[in-house]
């Protein structure tokens, strides 16, 4: 008998069918992957199983016994642990308090056993070889570290089912390897791991069975070893995979950007050419985001970036100044500082370039709309109406809107921080093509990505960062994954930068 069974599940959001008549089953002791394009309904299915969401129709059963819906607490009590796609941490609290939230150990007096809490946390982190400071406030951690906290929290529960909704989207290689190790170990212990990911090669590597969702319906469940990426893509989007992208040729060496990055460790320099795409690789916490934000005017003590363009100093003292100097930054945390969630697509797309559409301080809605439409068309945005709230778009389309906002400012230097995180394979290829076009039109582009394939497909040059320093600078042809990992994790490198 399958461990988990869903029968005839449907979920409707005010007029949108997120899931339609889904029948699904998974066994103990397997890693079962779920794939599908953005908005296919993967997260919806996962949140329903986790008890955080109520189905409109249908039933769930565990070991053949129907599950009664009783919220996340009830699901947890029945052995379902979950890492949600969106962050589910409390930023003000420490790592330890987050991990054992709701399950704190108590002393005989009935008070929380603080020493025990720390000890248990340390034990847990050690057991799974996760490096985190149990006392650190979660809000101060990087996105990847926060993701590890979430994973640790799920692992801390005595569970029979572990749900991982896109856990690797923000992880870098080492963490990812560690996570896969952990997943295999849990499988060996007879646990069911439900795994959602857009990285199809990862999925094929780790999963036993794969279920494909499209438009809220199940397309099919197959054994992983019987499948190729192309089969999966065919199932997911109903047509063949987009042509695999390759790195473009190096551009003419022209108009130089010289970026000087001053940190506690000293000063270093990075140069970029107009039309060039530079990839920035590194492990979690290497300091890539901090560097990118510093260029864009979000300096912090110990992370000051100054830059010159053809020898002339650009003013990037604030994001506003940086933007005026032609620098645009695409954030890695779309929800937190990318989207204006309550506003419509036009407002989101035009936010940075509004003055261009106004006359004498007065808005011209038609002009705004026309300009937004033009850009978003170039990005192949899929939306019912331009007037709909951006929060109702799928993740990939949200990313396109935010990218569109950056493009509308016609940047000379674009910094993309994890531009395709959580974006499905079709949209990803489109985004890549857009970035290439932009570079071809003369912009310098800095791509921060934790995905080696992405850097290889896009960049002309890959710079590796470790511990806030640039430790290697390789033309893309010479960079293989092995060598980059060594550089990023502190091994000997061939080419050190200044």
């Amino acid at each position: 008998m399958p461990l988990l069974e869903a029968h005839n599940l449907s979920k409707h959001y005010a007029g949108v069918a997120a899931l339609t008549e889904v029948d699904f089953s998974a066994d103990a002791g397997e890693i079962h992957a779920l794939v599908g394009a953005n908005g296919a309904g993967k997260s919806t299915l996962m949140t329903i199983i986790a008890g955080a969401n109520t189905p409109s129709e249908g039933t769930l059963s565990l070991d053949g016994v129907p599950l009664r819906h009783g919220g996340p607490a009830a699901a947890q009590a029945q052995g379902i642990a979950t890492v949600y796609q969106e962050f589910s941490l409390v930023p003000h609290l420490s790592v330890a308090r987050n991990i054992f939230l709701g399950r704190e150990p108590v002393t005989r007096l009935g008070l929380v056993d603080r020493a025990g809490l720390i000890a248990q946390t340390c034990a847990l982190l050690d057991r799974f070889a996760i490096t985190l400071d149990p006392m650190a406030e979660v809000g101060t951690l990087s996105v990847a570290q926060q993701q590890m906290v979430e994973i640790a929290r799920a692992l801390s529960q005595p569970a029979r089912i572990l749900i991982l909704d896109e856990p690797t989207a923000v992880l870098s290689l080492a963490e990812q390897e560690n996570l896969f190790r952990i997943m295999r170990r849990l499988r060996a212990d007879g646990m069911l791991v439900l795994y959602v990911s857009h990285y199809l090669n990862e999925v094929l590597e780790i999963a036993d069975r794969i279920t494909v969702l499209r438009d809220g319906r199940i397309v099919g469940t197959r054994k992983a070893k019987d499948l190729q990426i192309s089969d999966l893509v065919q199932m997911m989007i109903g047509r063949d995979a987009p042509v695999a992208p390759t790195a473009a040729d190096s551009p003419e060496r022209a108009a130089n950007f010289v970026i000087t990055y001053a940190t506690h460790a000293g000063q270093q320099e990075l140069t970029m050419q107009a039309g060039e795409i530079v990839g920035l690789a590194g492990l979690v916490g290497a300091g890539r985001t901090t560097f990118g934000r510093a260029i864009a005017g979000l300096h912090r003590p110990g992370a000051i970036a100054t830059l010159t363009h053809e020898g002339a100093l650009l003013n990037n003292s604030t994001p506003r100044q940086a933007m005026r100097a032609g620098i645009a930054y695409l954030t890695e945390d779309r929800k937190k500082d990318g989207l204006f969630a309550g506003l419509d697509i036009v407002a989101n797309a035009t936010a940075a370039a509004l003055p261009r559409t106004t006359r004498g301080g007065f808005r011209r809605p038609q002009v705004e709309r026309a300009q937004a439409e033009a850009v978003l068309k170039r990005l192949h945005l899929v939306a019912a109406r331009l007037g709909m709230p951006v929060a109702q778009l799928s993740g990939g389309n949200q990313q396109k809107v935010v990218l569109g906002r950056a493009l509308m400012t016609e940047p000379r230097l674009l910094i993309c921080d994890e531009p395709t995180r959580g974006v499905d394979i079709g949209a990803k290829a489109e985004l890549h093509q857009i970035i290439r076009d932009l570079a071809a039109n003369g912009a310098a582009v800095l791509i921060i990505s934790s995905e080696f394939e992405e850097l290889q497909a896009l960049a002309h040059r890959i710079v590796v960062m470790r511990d806030r320093c640039f430790v290697a600078d390789l033309p893309v042809g010479q960079a293989d994954q092995q060598e980059m990992l060594i550089a990023a994790s502190g091994g000997p490198t061939e080419k050190e930068t200044a």
């Binding site: 939230l101 008070l111 406030e137 945390d333 937190k336």
Partner: protein, 316 residues
């Protein structure tokens, strides 16, 4: 309340926590050095008496604010307790009256909490409406001062032992209990989590609705306790006795560094905020600052205090 938000820098927090203590020490040292009348033990005892009502209110308010809500109804609730206590005392024994008042406070708190969680109302508007309702109820009971507070409460509010006013002892005892509850108990852990991010807390299996209801209930009970002490302090059922107390309590809580956005809070620092306000008011009186100038200064002090004692900075 959305996903992972505020990214406070460590420095900011350290200062934020120390802020109220620094301010309190500075004011104490300067006042003690410059004004001999201030050092007078009798005067210090006065201040001890003066923090009673607000101190208790601030404890309850800390819980609600740390949970990410706010309770404007406590002032009028305390006022209602004052009126009822004084009206009932001549006829009924003290203990049942006090118990009834605590139940009343808890009841109003639970009502606030249930409406907050079930009707998804903004807490400011909800409790503002409740404040108006309670105001009306007070005046349905009486439009003038009635009754007399039982002598036990009057002694409690105004008396002292070994030079320490009972009121200060009560605040200290309740403050320690509240502080432990917020920082050490499971309930406190869950409350801060709920205030920090309600959805995350819910997903972690915390019964967030019950947490909110409990927080409001605590606020209601503390309002009832404050009302009993206030009844003892003013000795009579004055219908408007509680007016404006809610704002003073909120100011004290915020002076103590508790963010109105929830997720953080300290009972100890809220009480420090109350003490600071009481000392400032005492000093202004001793320095013979006119009433109008006192109002102006009080406002400016609030502004300066919160500017100095800012919440930690977000990650750039």
């Amino acid at each position: 309340m959305s996903g992972a938000v505020a990214q406070p820098g460590q420095m900011g927090i350290a200062f934020g926590r120390a802020g109220i203590w620094i301010a309190l020490s500075v004011v104490l040292v300067v006042a003690g050095a410059l004004l001999p009348q201030f050092r007078d033990p009798e005067n210090l005892a006065n201040i001890g008496r003066q923090i009673g009502v607000l101190g208790i209110l601030a404890i309850g308010q800390t819980f609600v604010i740390a949970a990410g809500a706010i309770d404007l109804s406590v002032g009028m609730l305390a006022g209602l307790v004052v009126v009822l206590t004084c009206a009932l005392s001549p006829e009924y024994a003290l203990l049942p009256v006090m118990l009834a008042m605590m139940c009343l406070g808890a009841g109003v708190g639970v009502l606030n909490g249930v409406m907050f969680t079930r009707l998804r109302l903004n807490p400011l508007i909800l409790t503002f409406g409740m404040m108006s309702v309670l105001h009306g109820v007070i005046f349905i009971i009486t439009d003038r001062s009635i009754g007399r507070a039982p002598s036990f409460l009057r002694d409690l509010a105004n008396g002292q032992m070994w030079g320490v006013p009972f009121a200060a002892m009560i605040v200290l005892a309740l403050g320690i209990a509240g502080h432990v509850a917020l920082t050490r108990s499971k309930f406190g852990y869950h409350l801060l989590a709920t205030g920090g991010n309600t959805e995350s807390a819910r997903r972690a299996g915390i019964p967030t609705r019950r947490i909110f209801v409990l927080a409001f209930a605590l606020s209601g009970i503390s309002a009832a306790l404050a009302g009993l002490l206030l009844a003892g302090r003013i000795g009579v059922g004055f219908p408007l006795a509680g007016q404006g107390l809610e704002l003073d309590a909120i100011v004290a809580v915020v002076l103590g560094g508790t963010a109105l956005s929830g997720g953080r809070g300290s009972v100890a620092r809220a009480i420090a905020g109350v003490v600071l306000l009481a000392i400032i008011s005492n000093l202004l009186n001793l320095m013979q600052v006119s009433g109008f100038a006192q109002t102006a200064l009080k406002g400016m002090i609030v502004v300066i205090a919160i500017l100095v004692n800012q919440p930690p900075k977000d990650r750039a």
